[in-house]
C-alpha cells in the first residue's frame, strides 16, 4: 500500500526558524490555484529539499485544510520525501521493459555498493518512459539509458561508497 516516504523518518531535528517563513511564503503564493496542495508540496521539496513535519501545520493553516489532510497527502505520494536528501541519488527503473534488458542486475549492484552509505541514496522507480533504451535510471537527476553496471560505475566515479 502507498504509505511511504523513503523509510520510516527518524525523529527529525526541529526545523530551523527561517524555514516556517519560507514555507508560508510558498503556500501563500500558490494559495489561489485550484487544488493547491500538490503544487505547494512540490515547491517545498524543490526549494527546501523535503517536507519537514513542522511544515504541515503551516501549510494546513494557509490553505485552510486540516493537518490530517495535509499529512495524508504527504504520506501518499513518493515524491514528497520527509527526510533531507543525501548528497547523491541514483534512481533505477525496475519496470518490466527495463527488467527485460537486465535492470535487476544493475539495481542489485547499486543497492549493494551503497547499502551502507549515508551519502548516496539508491531508489527504485517503475518506468521513466525510456523503455526502449533500458536499463534506465537517473543519476543525480539526469536521465540515462543503457545503464549497465559498468556504465553506472563510470557515471558515479569518485562518489563515496
Amino acid at each position: 500500500m502507498r504509505q511511504r516516504g523513503p523509510g520510516p523518518p527518524p525523529a527529525p531535528a526541529p526545523a530551523d526558524p527561517g524555514r516556517a517563513a519560507s514555507v508560508r511564503v510558498i503556500a501563500e503564493e500558490l494559495r489561489g490555484v485550484r487544488g493547491a496542495l500538490l503544487p505547494v508540496l512540490h515547491e517545498v521539496v524543490t526549494t527546501l529539499g523535503f517536507v519537514h513535519e513542522d511544515d504541515v501545520p503551516v501549510i494546513a493553516e494557509v490553505l485552510n485544510l486540516s493537518r490530517a489532510d495535509v499529512h495524508g497527502v504527504v504520506t501518499f505520494y513518493h515524491d514528497f520525501r520527509r527526510t533531507p536528501p543525501a548528497d547523491h541519488r541514483v534512481s533505477l527503473c525496475r519496470g518490466e521493459a527495463c527488467q527485460a534488458r537486465g535492470a535487476e542486475q544493475t539495481y542489485a549492484v547499486a543497492a549493494d555498493r551503497w547499502s551502507a552509505s549515508p551519502d548516496v541514496e539508491v531508489a527504485e522507480v517503475f518506468c521513466l518512459g525510456n523503455c526502449a533504451l533500458g536499463p534506465a535510471g537517473t543519476v543525480d537527476g539526469t536521465l540515462h539509458g543503457r545503464l549497465s553496471p559498468d556504465r553506472l560505475a563510470g557515471l558515479t566515479e569518485g562518489w563515496p561508497r
Binding site: M1, Y77, E96, C127, L133
Partner: protein, 513 residues
C-alpha cells in the same frame, strides 16, 4: 552553412544527444533541435540537411562529430540515408505522430505550415454538436487503456449543464513499456494543446489541465513552453483564435503514484488530495473535477482529434479494422532489436510488430514472450503472434491492447518470477481503498513464493488452487482495474508458461489447476 538536427527528447538525451549538439555548435554549424523520430535504437540520430532531404547518422557520439562533418561517416553503417525514406518509417502510417521528429517542438509557425491548427479553425466554424458528431463518426476510442468511445463521453459532457466544465488530459503514462505520450509532448506539444482546445469548444469547457507525471521533467518543460507560446499567439486564453471563446490550460505535475493514472484517482490528485480511487457512478463526465462535468482523455486520444476535425471523421474511420478505428501508436520496448514508436492502422499482427518492426530480441536469443498493455497486461508466447492488434481480438484472447506498449522478453525470462512481480507491483502501487487489491496482492506474493519454492507436487497443486482463488477474488471484488487486472499477467504467465511454475509444459491450452 550546414544545418544539423539533433533530437532533444528525453530518450535521445539519455544517450548523449546534448553532448553531440554542443560539439556541433562548437564546430560552427547551425544546430536545430527536433523531437525523436521514434527509431530509438538509432539514437542519438543526427540529421544533416542536404538538397536531397535530411540525411541521418545513427548512434553519433561527440567524438564522431569531426568525421560526420567531413563526410567520413557517409560510407559507414552509421549513415542511414534520407530519414523520411527509411523503410522502418515508410512502412508506418503516421497520423498523430506526423510532425514528431520533423519540426522543432515549440515552433508554432512550422506547426501551422505542416497542417497544425486546421482542425481547431474548422471546429470554430461548427456548432458544438457538429464537433462532437465528427468525433463520434471517426470511431475514436480512448487510448489510455479502456477503449471507451470518445464521442459518447464528449456528448455526455456537452449536454450536462454546470457553471463550469473541465477538460483534463491524462498524461500520467505509468505503464512500463510505454512512452508515446511523452514523445508526443516532447516532440509536438501543440497537437495536444489543439486537441484539448477542440474538446473544450465541443463540450463548452473553459478550463483544462494536463496531469503530467513527475518522472517526465523534460515533457513538463516543453509543454509549459508550448502553452506560453499558444497564449502569446491567441491559441489559448480569453478568445481562442479570435472566436470570443475562452479556454485556459495549465499543467499539473503528478507526484510518483501509478494509481493516479486511473481517472478518478487523477481527479482526486488534481483537487489536491490523496490519489484514492472514487467509486463510479457518478461518472467523471457528469461529476468530475470539483464535481463538475469533465472530459478525461489520454494524450493520444486528444492528439488524434486535430486530424479528425481537419480531415473529417469519415477519413479517420476509414482506417483500422472492426470496431478499432484509426491508427494506434505502438511502443516497442524491452529486449527488442529495434525499439521505438510504430504508428500503424489497427489490425496489424503482433508478429509483424515484434518481428517485422522490432527485428526480434536485442540479445539475439529467441523471443519467449511479449507483454502487451503495461504491467496489468497479458504475457503472450510467439504462438500467438498471429493475433491482430484490435481491442476485441485481444479481449477475446484474454489480453488487452491497453496503451499500446509491447515489451519483448528473450528465453532467459522466468514467467513465474514475473507473475510474482505483477503481484509485488500491485502491493506497492495499490491505493489501499479495497481489500481484494490491498491484501490480495500481498497474499499473491506469498503464494507465488511458495509455488516457486515448492519441492513436491502436492504443495504446488494446493498453492495453485489458492492462487486461482485469489485471482478470482481480485478480479471480481476490486473497485478498479489495478486490483481487477493484476491477475491478467499472473494467469497468462501460468497459462502459457506452466513449466516455469514447475508444471509439465503444455500447448497454449494451458494448465488451469
Amino acid at each position: 552553412m550546414t544545418t544539423v538536427w539533433v533530437p532533444c527528447d528525453a530518450a535521445s538525451l539519455s544517450v548523449g544527444a546534448d553532448e553531440v549538439a554542443d560539439r556541433l555548435t562548437a564546430a560552427g554549424v547551425t544546430v536545430r533541435r527536433n523531437g525523436s523520430r521514434g527509431m530509438l535504437w538509432l539514437e542519438p540520430l543526427v540529421e544533416v540537411e542536404t538538397p536531397r532531404g535530411r540525411v541521418g547518422y545513427a548512434g553519433v557520439s561527440p567524438a564522431d562529430v569531426p568525421a560526420l562533418l567531413a563526410g567520413a561517416l557517409d560510407p559507414t553503417e552509421q549513415c542511414v540515408g534520407i530519414v523520411d525514406e527509411h523503410p522502418w518509417l515508410a512502412a508506418q502510417h503516421r497520423v498523430s505522430f506526423a510532425r514528431v521528429g520533423v519540426i522543432e517542438p515549440t515552433d508554432l509557425a512550422a506547426y501551422r505550415e505542416l497542417g497544425g491548427l486546421r482542425g481547431l479553425e474548422r471546429a470554430l466554424t461548427l456548432s458544438p454538436e457538429q464537433v462532437v458528431a465528427e468525433v463520434t463518426a471517426s470511431g475514436l476510442r480512448g487510448r489510455g487503456g479502456a477503449g471507451f468511445p470518445a464521442g459518447i463521453k464528449w456528448e455526455t459532457v456537452r449536454t450536462a449543464s454546470a457553471d463550469v466544465k473541465f477538460v483534463c488530459c491524462n498524461a500520467d503514462e505509468g505503464d512500463s513499456g510505454t512512452f508515446a505520450d511523452r514523445m508526443l509532448i516532447e516532440g509536438d506539444p501543440f497537437t495536444l494543446v489543439e486537441g484539448m482546445a477542440i474538446s473544450a469548444v465541443a463540450v463548452g469547457a473553459t478550463e483544462g489541465y494536463v496531469y503530467l507525471r513527475s518522472e517526465y521533467p523534460r515533457a513538463v518543460r516543453t509543454l509549459r513552453r508550448a502553452i506560453d507560446i499558444a497564449y502569446a499567439h491567441g491559441v489559448l486564453g480569453e478568445s481562442v483564435l479570435g472566436s470570443g471563446r475562452r479556454f485556459d490550460l495549465d499543467v499539473r505535475v503528478g507526484a510518483g503514484a501509478y494509481i493516479c493514472g486511473e481517472e478518478t484517482s487523477m481527479l482526486e490528485s488534481l483537487e489536491g488530495r490523496r490519489g484514492e480511487v472514487r467509486a463510479k457512478p457518478p461518472i467523471p463526465a457528469l461529476e468530475g473535477l470539483f464535481g463538475r462535468p469533465t472530459v478525461v482523455n489520454n494524450v493520444l486520444t486528444l492528439a488524434s482529434v486535430p486530424m479528425i476535425l481537419a480531415d473529417g471523421g469519415e477519413a479517420y474511420a476509414a482506417l483500422g479494422t472492426g470496431r478499432s478505428r484509426g491508427t494506434q501508436v505502438f511502443q516497442l520496448a524491452g529486449n527488442v532489436a529495434r525499439g521505438g514508436i510504430v504508428e500503424a492502422d489497427f489490425g496489424i499482427s503482433l508478429g509483424d510488430l515484434v518481428e517485422g518492426f522490432g527485428g526480434g530480441t536485442a540479445s539475439g536469443r529467441p523471443v519467449k514472450a511479449v507483454q502487451v498493455g503495461g504491467p496489468l497486461g497479458a504475457y503472450l508466447p510467439p504462438e500467438r503472434f498471429d493475433l491482430p492488434l484490435d481491442y476485441e481480438a485481444f479481449t477475446d484472447a484474454g489480453a488487452m491492447v491497453g496503451h499500446g506498449g509491447v515489451v519483448v522478453w528473450d528465453d532467459t525470462m522466468d514467467a513465474a518470477r514475473m507473475a510474482r512481480f505483477a503481484m509485488e507491483f500491485c502491493v506497492k502501487e495499490s491505493c489501499g481503498k479495497c481489500t481484494p487489491c490491498r491484501i490480495g496482492s500481498t497474499r499473491g506474493v506469498e503464494v507465488l513464493d511458495r509455488i516457486r519454492a515448492a519441492q513436491d507436487d502436492g504443495v504446488r497443486r494446493t498453492q495453485l488452487v489458492l492462487l486461482e482463488d485469489l485471482c478470482t477474488t481480485m478480479t471480481k471484488g476490486s473497485l478498479c482495474a489495478m486490483g481487477g487486472l493484476t491477475p491478467m499477467p499472473v494467469r497468462s504467465a501460468l497459462e502459457h508458461f506452466p513449466e516455469d511454475f514447475g508444471l509439465p509444459a503444455s500447448t497454449t491450452e494451458g494448465v488451469r489447476p
